[in-house]
Symmetry: C2
Subunit: 216 residues, 2 copies
DNA sequence: CACAATAATATTGTATACATAAGCTCGATT
DNA sequence: AATCGAGCTTATGTATACAATATTATTGTG
C-alpha cells in the first residue's frame, strides 16, 4: 500500500482514470472511494486534491469532483505541443548523443521491429513508449524528458485509439527507422522535423483522431 | 477567503513561495501554517498536496514538506523549454493573427515602450508579462497559452534576477520591437526565432543567470 | 570531552464528528 | 401539466482526536 494511503490512492485513481475505468465526466464520490479502498475520506481527499492540481480531475467546491472531459480541440492542442516537445527532444538527442543513449535507442528500436513484424499491437504499444522514452532521455534534459513523458501519459487514451487505425502500426515503425537514422547521423533539424510529423496530428491523421473521439 | 480555505491557502502559500518569502529549502510545518492562517491542519494539508503535485514543494512522507530548490541545471533546462514554447506561440500567433489579438499586442507593446523609456524596471516587469501573455493568447491555442503562462510564473524568481542586469531593459524592449514587426508581418518562422532568442539563456545571458543564482 | 543509546518531544498520517451547503422529493399553485 | 418552493437527504469542508514515526534532548559510557 506504499505505506502512505494518500500517495497510493493518487496512483490508483490516476490509473483508473487513464485506463478509462473512470471515464470523462464520472463523479468521484469521496465516501464511495473511501469505502472502495478501505480507508477514510481524509486520504481520498488528499489524492483528489493532487489529481485536481495536475488537471486530471476538476474540483468544484461543494460539488463532487469529476473526471475532466477534454474537448477535441484541446486534445488537438495538446498533441500540437507534444509534437513540438518531441521534436525538441529529438533535436537535442541528435546533437548530444552518446554511446549509452545510442544503445538504448537501438535496443528499443529493435523491440519495436519485432512487435511490429509480429503484428502485436499491444506489444508495439509498449515498445513504442520505451522507444520514445529513450529519445527523451538522450536529450539530456531531465526537465524536457519529464514534460514529454507526462504529456505522453496524459494523451495515452487518445493515442491508443489512433493505433487502431489501419496500417498505423507498420507506418509508425517505418517512421521510427527514419528517425533513428537521422538521430544517429547527428542531424538535429531532421530529427526535429521527423518527430514532429510522427507525433503530429496533421491531415488525415487528425480527422482519424476526431472521428475516433466522436465515436466514443 | 475565497469561501474555500484549501484553495485560498494554496494561493497564499504559492505566492509566498514565488515571492521568495518562503525560499527554497524552507520547511513547511503544518501546524505553524495552520496557526498563521487561522485554520486547522486539514486545509493546510490539502494545499500542500496540491503544491506538491505541481512540483513547487517536495512532500517527504513522515517528514516535513520543503520548498523545492531547483538546481541551476534544471532552471536552465526549464528556460530552454520555455524558449521553445514561446517560439511556438509566436509562430502560431504570426500565422493566426486577427485584429483583436493584433490590437492587444500593440497595446501591451506601447505600455512596454513607456515603462522602458521611463527606466521603470518594476513597471516594465509587469508590462513585459502582459506583452508575452498577449502573444500566448494570439496563438489561439488555450493549452499552449496555459503552459507558457505556467512556466513563465514558475520561472518568475529567476527572470526577475535577469532584469537587473545592466541594459537588459532597453535590450529587451528593442527585441520586442523586432518581434512585433515579424508577427504583424505574418512571418511565423521569424517570430519563432526571435522569441526563442529573446527568452533563451544563451551565451553571456546564461552566465549572467548562473552568476546571479550562485550569488543567492 | 566526544559519542552512542535511550527517553522525551514534536509532527505527521488517518479516522471520525459535526456544521453547512447542494441536490432532491413531493406537494401546492398558476 | 408544468413550475416553483419548502423540507428532507446526502455529500462536502473543516476541526479535532489519536496513533505512529521522526527528531531532539538527555544521560551514561569510553
Amino acid at each position: 500500500m506504499s505505506e502512505n494511503a494518500g500517495r497510493w490512492l493518487r496512483d490508483e485513481i490516476e490509473n483508473a482514470i487513464l485506463s478509462n475505468e473512470l471515464g470523462p465526466g464520472t463523479r468521484l464520490d469521496e465516501t464511495a472511494l473511501a469505502n472502495r479502498f478501505g480507508v477514510s475520506r481524509t486520504p481520498v481527499r488528499e489524492a483528489l486534491m493532487q489529481l485536481g492540481a495536475i488537471g486530471l480531475i476538476e474540483i468544484r467546491p461543494r460539488r463532487s469532483a469529476v473526471v475532466v472531459d477534454l474537448p477535441p480541440r484541446r486534445v488537438y492542442e495538446m498533441f500540437e505541443v507534444m509534437a513540438e516537445l518531441e521534436g525538441m527532444a529529438g533535436s537535442l538527442a541528435a546533437r548530444r548523443l552518446d554511446s549509452d543513449s545510442r544503445e538504448a535507442i537501438a535496443t528499443a528500436h529493435d523491440r519495436c521491429e519485432r512487435s511490429a513484424g509480429a503484428g502485436d499491437s499491444d506489444a508495439y504499444y509498449y515498445d513504442n513508449e520505451e522507444f520514445h522514452k529513450a529519445i527523451y532521455a538522450a536529450s539530456r534534459s531531465d526537465y524536457l524528458a519529464e514534460q514529454c513523458a507526462q504529456l505522453h501519459q496524459r494523451l495515452r487514451p487518445y493515442r491508443r485509439l489512433q493505433l487502431r487505425v489501419r496500417n498505423r502500426l507498420s507506418t509508425s515503425f517505418s517512421e521510427h527507422c527514419a528517425i533513428v537514422d537521422v538521430i544517429f547521423a547527428g542531424d538535429g533539424e531532421a530529427a526535429r522535423k521527423l518527430l514532429q510529423a510522427h507525433v503530429g496530428v496533421q491531415g488525415e491523421r487528425f480527422s482519424d483522431l476526431v472521428a475516433s473521439m466522436a465515436a466514443r
